[in-house]
Amino acid sequence: MLKQTEGSKAVAEAIALCRPEVICAYPISPQTHIVEALGEMVKAGELTPCEFINVESEFAAMSVAIGSSAAGARSYTATASQGLLFMVEAVYNAAGLGLPIVMTVANRAIGAPINIWNDHSDSLSQRDSGWMQLFAETNQEAVDLHIQAFRLAEELSMPIMVCMDGFILTHAFERVDIPSQEQVDAYLPPFEPRQVLDPAEPMSIGAMVGPEAFMEVKYLAHAKQMQAIELIPKLADEFKNIFGRDSGGLIRTYQIEDAETVVIAMGSILGTIKDVVDEMRAEGHKIGVLGIISFRPFPLEQVRAALIKSKRFIVLEKSLAVGMGGIVATNVRMAVTGSGLRGFTAIAGLGGRAIPKSSLHKLFRQAEQEELEAVTFVDLDWAAVNKQLEREKQTRRSGPIAENMLHDKGIVGVSAKFG
């Protein structure tokens, strides 16, 4: 059913259609609207049987989900940013125990400085946790990926994050096709756990494993993600059969066939990028787009195949590996190892910084000309940065960076007032 609705609301409806049995909720922007909507559905008796638990922290949220999933209940939670970091220990644990929990990450920057706006730092920080990570480009895709995520997680018995850009998607009102319960039921069978806490068949889950078997356990987690590389496209195909939509998969390409320059990105920014590419194509630029949906597992072969005919690529990413550069870019470079392709990294949109088309036009043209540094910080206010660097060179106690810079930019009147 087509609806003009908020992204969070649409996702909440999709989750509800997946018949979750336990939902753990802890508030953190910008995922709150999802669990609020689900909470209301449970309380109203529209989503039943389902236990909606208001926990005391994200750590508890994931821990409750670990318990409920291990006890055989389809379990869901959502978080973002600091919340994701607060539950990290449990995030790794859920993956280590092989529990097919589905979690929405409404991507948001990580502090300090505290910042509620979108970038990908939070989920990317968990790239090695053992969770799968799918990135939605649109709210429609967010809806669809959640439905596929339950299927994927439960078939492999591995947890999965469905990542959607905070505010940009979660709070955006768009037209979304909400599937019917029949469609979802046809696609997603009831949860049959690989292992379950059951008095009829006792087992001990979560043993201490020493050097004699630890590597094997870790390899098996890796092997599962390798299986997911095979499974994700199949599930997308099946999804198309039932829902009639292309949604999901490992990667999505756009105007790539004859592209000499390929722009690579994840999430909602792909829409803007495609617009810019269209405009550049109109001017005769051989430029295309590669959207990565599955960041974990990372589809090395598919990325390589998509890029191999081009001459260069630029990864535009909303994350920063401080002291190194890009995160997604590093993964892409791994995919094209030995190909001779030129690759550029562009860090953009951190902490919700707008990424205007004009900036992209400029960036992509520089990339075509191979005039970029290896790592480019898009729209960085060099004046403010340099001023602070100069200040720090001169004075040991140069004051708080963020405040100084806001002052320099004229956003804060007199920083000393707050000091």
Binding site: Q195, S204, V217
Partner: protein, 541 residues
Amino acid sequence: MQKPFAITLKPGTSLTNHTGTWRTARPVYLDRLPPCNNACPAGENIQGWLFHAESGEYEKAWRVLVENNPLPAVMGRVCYHPCEGACNRGQLDSSVGINSVERFLGDEAIKRGWKFAAPAASSGKKVLVVGAGPSGLSAAYHLARLGHKVEIQEAGPLAGGMMRFGIPKYRLPREVLDAEVQRILDLGVTLKFGTKVANIEQSMKDGGFDAAFLAVGAHIGKRTFIPAGDATKIVDAVSVLRSMEGEDKPMLGRRVVVYGGGNTAIDVARTAKRLGASEAIIVYRRTRDKMPAHDFEVEEALQEGVMVKWLSTIKQAGEGNITIEKMALDEKGYPQPTGEFETLEADSVVLALGQDVDLSLLEGVSGLEIKDGTVQVSPNMMTGHPGIFAGGDMVPSERTVTVAVGHGKKAARNIDAWLRGATQEVPPKHELAEFDKLNTWYYSDADKTVRPMLDIIRRQTSFDEVQGGLNESTALFEARRCLSCGNCFECDNCYGVCPDNAVIKLGPGKRFEFKYDYCKGCGLCVAECPCGAIKMVAEDI
């Protein structure tokens, strides 16, 4: 479905990990010797029979009791219960009333008509027992149960020996004695009264006996010289007590002086009181704490109005009075005359200065050694003459009913061995279950049950039994005060406190076993065993 590798495990699989290899010492179950058993002159397995009494299985308890002593109802009245003196519970609150439970079991057996198990197959051997006192009856009982033909030859007209002729009725009602004697006779023991054995070898030959057990009591009262006029009646205590069993009660007068400080002195003074004496005065040369009589008997006598002149000796007996001399204890505790005299009115003087045994039946028997009025016996109770054994008052020992009964048992077992041409193998004594081996935390707080006593008026005027018995509930209570020292009573502590489940509970009456595959040797079972029935033994490493 295949479970995740390594991180998910099957239940209970740790059984493959044999933690017993960690151990440097292992716990082992053992039976230690309870102090009561150790102290019992009759060799009763007191802890053993109390164990059954604790669960209300009185007949079973009685049967375990009579394995060693055929006279529980008598014992429960006249035994001076050294067991209670040794009882570990005495260090906790007060000793278990073993004697009173024994009496309850004995009375219960009489009431319910419990009989002894039939003797084993006949051995074809004949044993003569001389004397139907406690020692003789005990020997007869054990010999009969071992399959021997037993004949008791008793000089007197009634069975019981000193139990009848030395112990007053108010302490041992005769129907109780009769019932227990009869039960022994019911085993097929022959008892001949009025048969004084004058020559033991001859009697054995005449009767075709293969062995003999001599158990003649000390019926002859010791005398001492007291200058006395003709008018003063001086009698001995044994005669007084014996005459109580006859038709003619002794005539002691209104004021009776008893000379001596033993239990017999007490018995006779109390008897005199009951016979109507207005004054019964014991004259004793030392102090109360030196008195050989048991304190509780002294106490009961005093309650009944018996008076005692401590530190006094009788110097002279005149007409209707006696003269006593005051004594003083020297630094060694011996009484020394002070030269200070006092006169007491007395219609009669009863001498209670000890008894002797008539050993005339031994005259001419070869190999015997007689010393201080007793026959010397080897550790197997045999005299120097092969086949002739002796016990009770006849041999050097403490003279109590319980000791006599113990002698009878020991002699019987040795006679049996001797008749088989063997020697009685006595298993080594178990190590003693001392108080420090116990963990007394686990025993309920429970004070000793006080046995009912006859009211004082009837005690002074009748020969009714002074001390009452326990009823079923009080007997049960008292039995359950037993700490079961050194012997498992299946409290399940070891089974419960083992952090490694290394104890197997075998079920009621079967106790426990260690699973040494898993026992790490922590010693908790030993520390928490209430009764000290487990000990740690170092492993050979």
